[in-house]
């Protein structure tokens, strides 16, 4: 019973380390898959901030990205598969008696390829519709649900976005929420020319999204685009870029580092309970050595050497911690299953986390068992035998 209570410290420590690691790894992995579901090869080019007359200007006020840039990128790069310009505008969409606030994204037909997005019904707009600035649109699931409440098919219907009539030719598949909690289905896609000319009345671009030929080539593609844009913008070597090129990989890095920090924090907290468990072992071993002084004396009298006694108590300490570790691992796995199935948090148990916590356990046993064991082994057999 007493041994079990001692073990409890180790059990809780190990179980929490395993569960915390699982949560940390799980969230890291889910961020990764979510970001790559947005298109892992995706690279976004946005205008850079600039200072004019000492005033830092808002990014949307920048007009450094133009259709010429888009065309240059499309023609002169080798590492990209699809390129799409992007302009967007927020506003109210209306169909019959229903209305819904959303954003319209003006893009090229390639946009769906870049985002790895399919249509649920209907079709995408064509290059021809882009060049004629046709009043057509493809809508996301959220928009479809809110404007067409009776379950009627939106295909072929006319909606109004900020009083511009748009004919719906396609409905996108549901993509769900992004990692950042944004509803990716709450969107209307239209030819960028339509948005530029009919809705926003602008000629510059807000961003250009491209996809590289592979994830590995993404960093090289970033370099290629940067060089091309610097040349086209006629920037001298000591001038800063007036644009930003961001690859998905960088975003993954940013977000995994956040969750990694979280994992480290959680594990640090869990380790403290492991440490407390270790001190518990030290305490129980200390009491055990005191209680069994006569036994130690007897073992010495019948020929046990100091090293035999040391080994015996070390093994006992290790047995306690390893048994605790075993129970802790299974409890941690149980907790992980519970978190996954009941709380629906993403989790991921790595075998290394089990091995590490197990090894740490054994080391804890040796470390905290050493002092009491050493004390036992150096007892004087005469006093030990007479100890009451």
């Amino acid at each position: 019973m007493r041994t079990f209570l001692t073990m409890l410290g180790i059990i809780i420590g190990v179980a929490s380390v395993i569960a915390m690691l699982a949560i940390g790894e799980g969230s890291k992995e889910s961020i990764k898959t979510q970001i790559s579901s947005m298109g892992s090869n995706m690279i976004t080019i946005r205008p850079g901030t600039d200072v004019r007359g000492g005033v830092r200007l808002e990014r949307s006020a920048m007009e450094t990205l133009t259709l010429n840039d888009y065309k240059a990128i499309e023609k002169e790069t080798k590492l990209l598969t699809s390129v799409s310009p992007m302009v967007n505008s927020g506003g109210q969409s209306i169909y019959g008696a229903n209305n819904w606030p959303t954003s319209v994204y003006g893009v090229a037909p390639e946009y769906l390829k870049i985002k790895i997005w399919d249509l649920a019904e209907g079709s995408n707009f064509t290059d021809k519709e882009v060049s004629s600035a046709a009043k057509v649109a493809v809508i996301g699931q959220t928009v479809a649900e809110n404007l067409f409440k009776d379950g009627e098919s939106p295909i072929g219907k006319m909606i109004r976005f900020n009083s511009i009539p748009l004919k719906i030719i396609g409905v996108l598949e549901s993509k769900g929420e992004s990692t950042f909690g944004q509803d990716q289905d709450d969107v209307i896609l239209a030819p960028y020319t339509t948005v530029q000319k009919r809705i926003l009345a602008i000629t510059h671009l807000e961003s250009i999204v491209v996809s590289s030929i592979s994830e590995e080539e993404a960093p090289n593609a970033v370099i290629e685009i940067t060089a091309l844009l610097r040349k086209n913008h006629k920037l001298t070597t000591n001038e800063e870029d007036d644009f930003h090129v961001i690859s998905m990989e960088e975003m993954i890095k940013t977000f995994s580092s956040t969750s990694e920090m979280l994992t480290v924090l959680l594990v640090a907290i869990a380790s403290i309970s492991l440490l407390v468990g270790g001190i518990g072992i030290m305490n129980i071993m200390y009491v055990s050595v005191k209680e069994r002084t006569r036994e130690i004396g007897l073992r010495m009298a019948v020929g046990g050497q100091g090293s035999d006694i040391l080994l015996q108590f070390l093994i006992e300490a290790m047995l306690i911690s390893i048994t605790g570790g075993l129970i802790g691992v299974s409890l941690g796995l149980g907790a992980t299953l519970f978190i996954e199935n009941v709380l629906h948090w993403p989790t991921s148990v790595t075998s290394s986390s089990i091995v590490i916590s197990f090894v740490v356990c054994a080391i804890t046993g040796i470390f905290f068992g050493w002092y009491p064991a050493k004390k036992a082994s150096t007892l004087d057999p005469i006093t030990a035998l007479r100890y009451e």
């Binding site: 007897l298 019948v302 020929g303 050497q305 100091g306 090293s307 005469i382």
Partner: protein
């Protein structure tokens, strides 16, 4: 002439307690031959316990000679002493000192586990079984000390002292915790073992024990004051029969 098992010459042992030096043994000499059954008597404070510690290789003398089975223990290290205790000495204590929650046979096996000889688990079990047979406890192998009477526990302890075939058995007040009847039973067992050729050293302060042994050494204030051969050794088994039968 039989072999000398223990040889002690001018043995001295003193302790420093604070600023005082206590001379527990002030130069004693004797030797014990193989097959002897010796009682060491003395009141408390006579140096009896100190002598026992030295004899048992738990302690080392300040000066003088102590040889056991031809080995001088004065220059030995702690680990070498442990080996001597394991191979040459069988201990029996007043309070038995059995491991609780451990069966009789496992208690007897204990010295063999620390032996430097490599024995298989089977050999260890066999030896322990034979030792328990010698003390008539072969039917109590799997009993733990709490399931045994005092006399039975002491017999397990005797079996433990026999198991490694030591050259001498050291008994420290081995009957001190037992009633007269059980004491006589134990003494009868010792006499039996002595007849088989075991050398036994029995430390006690009870004078009637000495009547069962062939030689008595009496200590007082760190000196030997008497060392005599008992020509009229009584049989403990007969004494046992002579005891009035207790009524329950």
């Amino acid at each position: 002439m039989s072999k000398t098992i223990i040889k002690i010459e001018d043995l001295k042992r003193s302790f420093t307690m604070g600023e005082e030096t206590v001379h527990a043994l002030k130069g004693i000499s004797f030797s014990i031959q193989e097959g002897e059954f010796v009682t060491i008597m003395g009141t408390s404070g006579s140096g009896k316990s100190t002598l026992l510690n030295v004899l048992g290789c738990l302690d080392q003398p300040n000066s003088g000679v102590y040889q056991i089975d031809g080995v001088s223990i004065k220059e030995l290290t702690k680990n070498e002493l442990a080996r001597i205790r394991n191979e040459k000495i069988g201990f029996i204590f007043q309070s038995y000192n059995l491991l609780a929650r451990t069966t009789a046979i496992e208690n007897v096996e204990l010295p063999l586990l620390y032996s430097t000889k490599t024995l298989t688990a089977e050999e260890i079990h066999d030896k322990a079984f034979k030792a328990l047979e010698q003390v008539n406890l072969s039917d109590r192998l799997d009993h733990t000390p709490s399931q045994l009477s005092g006399g039975q526990q002491q017999r397990v302890a005797i079996a433990r002292s026999l198991v490694n075939e030591p050259v001498v058995i050291l008994a420290d007040e081995a009957t001190g915790n037992l009633d007269t009847r059980t004491s006589y039973e134990i003494m009868a067992l010792f006499q039996e073992l002595n007849k088989q050729g075991k050398t036994i050293l029995f430390v006690t302060h009870e004078p009637d024990i000495a009547t069962f042994t062939g030689r008595t050494i009496v200590l007082k204030d760190g000196h030997i004051i008497q060392d005599y051969i008992n020509n009229n050794v009584q049989s403990a088994a007969e004494a046992l029969l002579a005891l009035p039968i207790e009524e329950d």
